[in-house]
């Protein structure tokens, strides 16, 4: 067990180096002028400036030298000032957003966390509930409907679904809203009356006992949550359903029934826990998919999170920003995958022994 954890931990630096190398490799495809944004805030304007910057920051040096510099930054021998350096959190300067990239991350990431917080439960649970119910009522109406849903849900693109939601729930009647908060809320939040304990709007609203703000936050989040979740429901329905069907056919289920257990207990106590294993296996890899989905969803709903920041930066070809965001995301994913893998080792003993 400890062995497994140690080996899994040893993988982390490998992943980090690999991820940073890939991202840096992509960065190197650009010219030195664009790459100067890694270290300075102003665009070099003339030949002399360009040359000076290239020299100072070694923008035409061999690959690994630049890689190392990108990681650790460049220290001016005279002033002792340091420019750049990923490990210090200096991801460079975003020309399109006119701020440090790290600033973008700090501002936007928490918004995404706020959204993710409320997404997790519906994301994971609805599909499973549907799958179990479909299996128990095999071939009846609910089952047929669930299967149709699973086909549609995996075929309908996320952004189309988002647009449809906007069409139906917003364009006509404004039940739910895109964006993060209404104007009156934003005035209030930054006024000082409102205490930002966690910087997560919905939580802070509850902590401030402002339920009107909380409801406003929800109105803005419901559509993105649906948009992020419906695909997972479609996938989970299928996996849960087939796993459940298989489990229900097992001898121990028949035995439980023969012993006279209530059907409800047969399903909840015997069948379902065993059917869950393949589903749980799936959950781990869902996190990666969720982060990809966030990019599209936040863009469609104009939600100021880190996904939208990435999309904006990409469409304006502000590469330094995108790469900074990519590193950040990669880092988050490495950590969360590590946590998930270790949790699995606790749940499934086969994982430890492999």
């Amino acid at each position: 067990m400890t062995n497994y954890i140690i080996r899994r931990l040893l993988l982390v630096p490998v992943l980090l180096i690999g991820v940073t190398l890939i991202i840096f490799g992509m960065l190197q495809l650009l010219g030195p002028v664009e790459r100067s944004a890694l270290y300075v805030t102003d665009f070099p304007k003339n030949e002399k400036q360009i040359e000076g910057i290239i020299k100072k920051y070694g923008l035409e040096d061999p690959f690994f030298q630049q890689y190392w510099r990108w990681l650790t930054g460049v220290t001016d021998p005279v002033t002792g000032e340091r420019d750049g350096g990923i490990i210090y959190g200096d991801f460079g300067y975003s020309r399109t957003a006119s701020q440090e990239v790290i600033g973008i991350i700090q501002n936007r990431f928490l918004h995404t966390v706020d959204l993710a917080l409320w997404t997790v439960f519906p994301y994971l649970s609805v599909g499973i509930w549907m799958g179990v119910k479909a299996a128990v009522n095999q071939n009846k109406f609910f089952d047929q409907a669930a299967r149709v849903y699973s086909i549609i849900g995996t075929s309908l693109p996320a952004f189309v679904f988002g647009l449809l939601l906007l069409m139906l729930l917003y364009a006509n009647n404004q039940w739910f809203l895109p964006g993060k908060m209404s104007d009156w809320v934003s005035q209030l939040v930054y006024s000082g009356e409102f205490k930002q304990y966690t910087k997560l709007l919905s939580i802070d609203a509850l902590l401030n006992l402002r339920f009107d703000i909380f409801w406003d936050a929800m109105r803005h989040m419901i559509m993105p949550i649906l948009s992020l979740s419906y695909i997972s429901w479609a996938t989970y329905v299928r996996v849960t359903r087939s796993s459940m069907l298989e489990t229900l056919r097992m001898d121990y289920v028949t035995t439980a029934r023969a012993k006279g257990l209530k059907e409800k207990d047969v399903i909840n106590k015997h069948a379902r826990p065993n059917a869950m294993l393949p589903v749980v296996t799936m959950m781990g890899s869902s996190i990666v998919g969720l982060l990809g989905g966030v990019v599209i969803t936040e863009t469609v709903f104009n939600y100021p999170g880190i996904g939208k920041a990435a999309a904006e930066a990409a469409s304006q070809l502000d590469v330094v920003t995108i790469l900074g965001l990519a590193i950040f995301t990669g880092f988050i994913l490495i950590i969360s995958n590590l946590v998930v893998d270790i949790l699995y080792a606790f749940i499934d003993p086969r994982v430890r022994l492999s």
Partner: protein
Amino acid sequence: MTEMTTFPTGDNQLLEETKSDRKITWLEKFLGPDNYRIVTGLLKTPASIIGFILILIFILVAVFAPVIAPPVGDDPMKIPRDGFSGEPKAPGAEWTRNVPEMPFWYKTLTGNDEWVHLLGTAQGQYDIFYGIIWGTRTAFRTGLIVVIATVLIGVILGSIAAYYGGWVDNLIMRITDIFMTLPYIMMALIFSSVLTPILGRSLLPPLIAMITFGWMGYARIIRSDILSIKERDFVLAARASGVKNGRILFKHILPNAIFPTLVLASLGIGDVVLGFAALSFLGIGTEIGYADWGQVLSFARNWITVLNRYWFIVVYPGLTLTFFVMGWNLIGDAMRDVLDPRMRGKS
């Protein structure tokens, strides 16, 4: 006591039938008997039949695009524009400028002498109908190119890893892990936008980006399949018979290992087209006005507040995209269902 009969009795019903050689079609030879049965089984599942029909319809649309929507100007992949005004026109609106030739079916079907925008236009007066019809070609092109490329890369890497084992295997699997840590859409987005200033706005940046980050699933699956088949008795028997290693790999291992990969690939086409549409929607990829479903959908971003009025910008390309992906998903699902119980039974 020696048995003197010329062939065994009572063993096998099949042999009791006529002794003439059964006709084995080329398809059965190519696929192998068990896979052949899978394919025939597939053709009997209603879900996969619907899938096949859908894909067939799309293939016909793509092939007959010039007939269905006669091109205007040199490049048929540029959506024809009826002027430049910013206000989208509803379906059925007149077509005043840049009017294309009248296809034969239009006159007979509608009795009209004049073209109309069958599905409306987006801002900039791009005709949606044309975008959808010619976008079918883009969908097939991108889907097939990306899937074929990623399958090739994945199979080659996975086979090398499984065949050599040891540090080679370890290295390749670590690399696969690294690539898999990163979210697909985001990486494709980033790489595509990095490549755009270098390669210009065209199909190329998103294609390369998607290929670079899309091969990992295939590598893993072929590797694990090869590893499990390697241990099967008939592979050992081939070694014992003195068959050379290369032949063992290509004649024994790969043909038995490739089928699950193909299942994944058919589901993959749907995913690739979805991903490509998402990239176009986000503004990375083809230039504005290129015939691509995601591109057409990206027009909707300007009209979020009045989507109920301009619903046709969303609904028509959205439905098309959905049905296309659905077709491939149905086929892939049916394949997986047929394969699954057999896979379990095999091991």
